[in-house]
């Protein structure tokens, strides 16, 4: 049996002014806590925006007359390419594994999520190592087909788009797949009753209903693309972040770099607001049912095509690059392997796990406050708190560090000294600083799953609980949290994976001795020893599989 209800148009929560209106919950504390979180997230962004006080006309004039037009065009091309790519691959594969049946479906169902564990910059250098003109593969091709033979160049616009699509499609795949699964059977059966074919019900029923999830996934992928510096510099593809780093490292002008970065943010805000306007106010409340007894059984050419599409993506995004890393690691880096790797793995796991808990908690706080009282203030707080994801990592890290050092010098050190403790720094260089940094950076990642799991709770459930005499606390802990558990868990695991892969903030803010697998990759690549970097990279991928596999098991039963 399946039980679904769809209420489109104005959602009850929004139209009635939030749970607080009829639940008699005190909102003040929640609002205050949400504002504090937003403020912490805003601090580094404010530091970045303050750079506009510094005049940098010469840098702008130079960039504007030389490289900037090309960079803007490149960035546009990259966004369109990656956006379309992740949408087609993510939604297409998500649909196939969620609603169809073909050989290998059970394997691909979870295997297609594994590329989430591979950092984009690692995938980039592995792909170049495999496919560039001087790679063993192409050398062999020239032996077979003559010296004039060459594949289309991997170091090209198409190549960088390919790499980023392969790195970022899992966000869309994961969210779309869960959305399709939770739509369940009856929705599509209803469509069939009305005479829709499988394709028609995909386009006219399943896709529109999955749209919020797909949009959230694509937004994450595009923000990653905008903020990325690692993968594009491996490909030497110049984007807007290139201008930021050129201003900072090449022209020694951090202020101009920060100004460019704040423009990037503005761009993101405009994009996010536009998407939300376009989506309108439609909301869907579903009671998820994952029982999908009747899949579309694919036959012959179609089932072969489905299986090959899945296999191709899996091989390119995971099997080949990880295989290449293993070969490199065994060939050039085994001498680097020692007991310290246990420490690196432990540090990576501890940081990832703690940051996941902290960040998910922040996301829960914001999402619940929004449900309590959806007003402009909280909407603004959510917006601000989830922006950090679109800033290039180093810029955000510097913003966080500068604001923490300011806090230290202005407030904490005087306060602690008056209490008789020694001089600081108390915050900068501490574990708390690093965790807050992760929180600011990855709140956007955690907010999506938490928010969408709130979306699935029917407001009538809260009303029923209240009418049965449940207290406010019970409504949160005993009614809401159990229903949100899946979303919280997914959010935490996603942050976990992201933190493990994160490099710039970890490098700048880690306490002494807290080296992780990602910082090991940096040590090797800073002087171009890509093959030696394969050892920490492959270890990172393998360790990263732990949260990814947990995530897969979680979302296989999205309740």
């Amino acid at each position: 049996m399946t039980t679904q209800t769809v209420t489109s148009a104005n959602s009850p929560t929004a139209s009635s002014g939030g749970i607080a209106n009829w639940l008699n919950v005190s909102v003040r504390g929640w609002q205050l806590a949400s504002l504090v979180v937003a403020l912490v997230a805003l601090a580094p962004i404010a530091v970045v925006a303050l750079a506009w006080l510094t005049p940098t006309a010469d840098v702008w004039q130079h960039l504007g007359t030389t490289v900037l037009p090309d960079l803007l065009r490149n960035t546009g091309v990259l966004l369109v390419g990656v956006g379309l790519g992740v949408m087609i691959i993510g939604v297409g594969l998500g649909w196939l594994v969620a609603t169809c049946d073909f050989p290998g479906r059970r394997f691909f169902d979870w295997a297609l999520m594994l590329p989430l564990a591979v950092p984009a910059y690692v995938l980039a250098f592995a792909l170049i190592g495999i496919f560039d003109y001087s790679s063993p593969f192409q050398n062999q091709l020239r032996v077979w087909f003559g010296p004039g033979f060459a594949l289309p160049p991997i170091r090209s616009t198409g190549g960088v788009i390919l790499a980023m699509v392969l790195a970022f499609y899992p966000y869309v795949y994961m969210l779309a797949r869960t959305a399709f699964l939770s739509q369940g059977q009856s929705m599509l059966e209803t469509g069939r009753v009305y005479g829709l074919t499988a394709w028609q019900s995909f386009w006219r029923v399943a896709l529109p209903m999955a749209r919020p999830a797909i949009a959230a996934g694509v937004a994450l992928a595009l923000m990653e693309t905008l903020a990325d510096f690692g993968a594009v510099s491996v490909f030497n593809y110049d984007t807007f972040t290139t201008a930021i780093y050129k201003a900072w490292f090449g022209m020694f002008n951090l202020a101009a770099a920060a100004q460019l970065a704040s423009l990037l943010l503005l761009f993101v805000v405009v994009g996010l607001v536009a998407e939300q306007r376009l989506r309108g106010r439609a909301q869907y409340h579903l009671t998820p049912k994952s029982t999908r007894s009747h899949r579309y059984r694919l036959h012959g050419g179609r089932s072969l095509a489905a299986a090959s599409a899945c296999a191709l993506v899996f091989i390119l995004a995971f099997a080949l690059p990880v295989g290449e890393l293993l070969v490199w690691a065994v060939r050039s880096a085994l001498q680097d392997f020692d007991v310290r790797y246990l420490r690196f793995v432990a540090n990576t796991l501890v940081l990832g796990g703690t940051a996941a808990a902290v960040t998910t908690f922040f996301a829960l706080l914001l999402a619940y406050t929004w449900r309590l009282k959806p007003d402009r203030m909280i909407r603004g707080a959510v917006r601000v708190a989830t922006l950090g994801y679109a800033l290039p990592g180093s810029v955000l890290a510097v913003g966080i560090m500068v604001s923490f050092i300011w806090l230290d010098r202005q407030w904490l050190t005087p306060a602690f000294e008056s209490l008789g403790f020694g001089a600081g720094p108390w915050l900068a260089g501490s574990m708390l600083a690093l965790l807050l940094a992760y929180g600011v950076r990855f709140l956007a990642v955690a907010y999506g799953p938490v928010d969408s799991s709130f979306e699935r709770i029917k407001p009538s459930l809260w009303q029923a609980a209240r009418s049965l005499g449940a207290s406010n606390r019970e409504i949160l802990w005993r009614v809401s949290i159990p229903l949100l558990r899946g979303g919280l868990f997914s959010a935490g695991l996603l942050v976990f994976v992201e933190v493990m892969k994160e490099m710039p903030a970890t490098l700048l803010l880690r306490p002494f001795g807290w080296d992780t697998l990602a910082t090991r990759i940096f040590e090797m690549t800073s002087e171009g020893e890509w093959e030696r970097a394969a050892l920490p990279a492959v270890t990172l991928v393998l360790v990263g599989l732990i949260p990814v596999i947990l995530l897969v098991r979680r979302t296989a039963n999205p309740r």
């Binding site: 010296p147 090449g250 022209m251 050092i405 900068a428 260089g429 040590e523 800073s526 002087e527």
Partner: protein
């Protein structure tokens, strides 16, 4: 709830990790030279003297911002980085202190340290020409500038201009021959490129070996690593500009921070790093040349032959970096 337990754990972590321990016998280092190159040195120093060294590694840009933002409360005593441009910038930003040390003045040649005595080169790398031994005769090569000659059309490979090594190379060319002449040379290089610029020196050499091009410009230690792995590779170093300015060299180096808490200990460490007992350990791990002229390079490095270095003070690389970056942008060198 579990989440609360974790939050509490994190809170305790804050207290444990933030308390700054400041022992007397210790030096705190911020380093942009990577961990596997500096750790052996620091371990040797601790064995020899008992002085403990705590260090953190990162890219030079963020580290420098951190030093500046921390100001007088910085825990760092020493800043280590690669490339003279970065050292010059650190001095200009006011985070490095002037060091009066006859030992350093004697151990380090004048053009490889700051005239204002705020930073000191500790190892030397040359940025020089590599060529395919099958397709190029050494006699065809002469200077960096000559790689702009039309006979190299479609035969040249270069790394991206975004790498500071190329920015320093061009900055030093500007210092020697002026902006107009240098821009002309860079334009000619770009016109001769066989393929889009690469993101690493290794890729430049791989492309030469694979037949995509015949010559390129790389740092010596990348070449050293390549021939260590493939001793029979058909690629060789060439020392250009021997009759004119000399080969462009650069350094990795260090300075003592303005607000160092262990200034004396840091200066002792810096002097030790320039001394014969540390120089081979510092340079050989990365196949670089010792900065101290009394110390012989590793055998595999010495095998590349002697050459004349550009004697222009490396502070020029920093002073003219912005000019160089702009020039390369104008010339279309990505």
């Amino acid at each position: 709830m579990k989440i609360w337990a974790i939050v509490q754990f994190a809170g305790m972590g804050l207290l444990t990790f933030s308390v700054p321990a400041s022992a007397a016998d210790e030096v705190v280092v911020y380093s942009a030279r990577n961990e596997q190159l500096i750790r052996p040195l620091f371990e040797a120093y601790t064995r020899e003297t008992g002085v403990k060294i705590r260090f953190i590694t990162d890219k030079e840009g963020p580290l420098l911002v951190r030093l500046k933002a921390e100001g007088s409360s910085t825990p760092a005593d020493m800043f280590i980085t690669v490339d003279a441009g970065n050292l010059w910038l650190a001095a200009k930003e006011g985070v490095l202190a002037k060091v009066d040390s006859p030992v350093l003045m004697q151990n380090i040649p004048a053009h490889l340290r700051d005239p204002g005595q705020q930073w000191f080169g500790l190892s030397v790398r040359a940025r020089t020409i590599v060529y395919h031994t099958g397709r190029v005769k050494p006699a065809e090569l002469s200077t960096y500038e000559a790689l702009g000659d039309p006979k190299w059309k479609g035969r040249l490979c270069l790394r991206t201009s975004k790498k500071v090594y190329n920015q320093s190379l061009v900055a030093m060319m500007i210092a020697r021959q002026g902006e107009t002449r240098t821009e002309e040379v860079v334009r000619r290089w770009v016109a001769n490129l066989a393929t889009d610029v690469f993101s690493s020196d290794d890729q430049v050499m791989e492309a030469i070996l694979a037949g995509q091009c015949d010559a390129g410009i790389v740092n010596t230690y990348y070449y050293g690593r390549l021939v260590k792995k493939q001793p029979r590779a058909a690629i060789a170093l060439f020392w250009p500009n021997q009759k004119t300015g000399g080969v462009h060299v650069n350094v990795s180096g260090a300075g003592i921070t303005m607000h160092a808490k262990h200034k004396v200990a840091a200066q002792k460490l810096l002097e030790w790093l320039s001394s014969p007992s540390a120089q081979n350990l510092f340079a050989d791990g990365n196949l670089e040349f010792p900065v101290n002229p009394t110390v012989a390079p590793a055998a595999s490095v010495a095998a590349w032959g002697k050459f004349r270095q550009d004697q222009t003070n490396l502070a020029e690389a920093g002073r003219r970096q912005v000019q160089a970056v702009k020039l390369m942008d104008r010339a279309g060198y990505r």
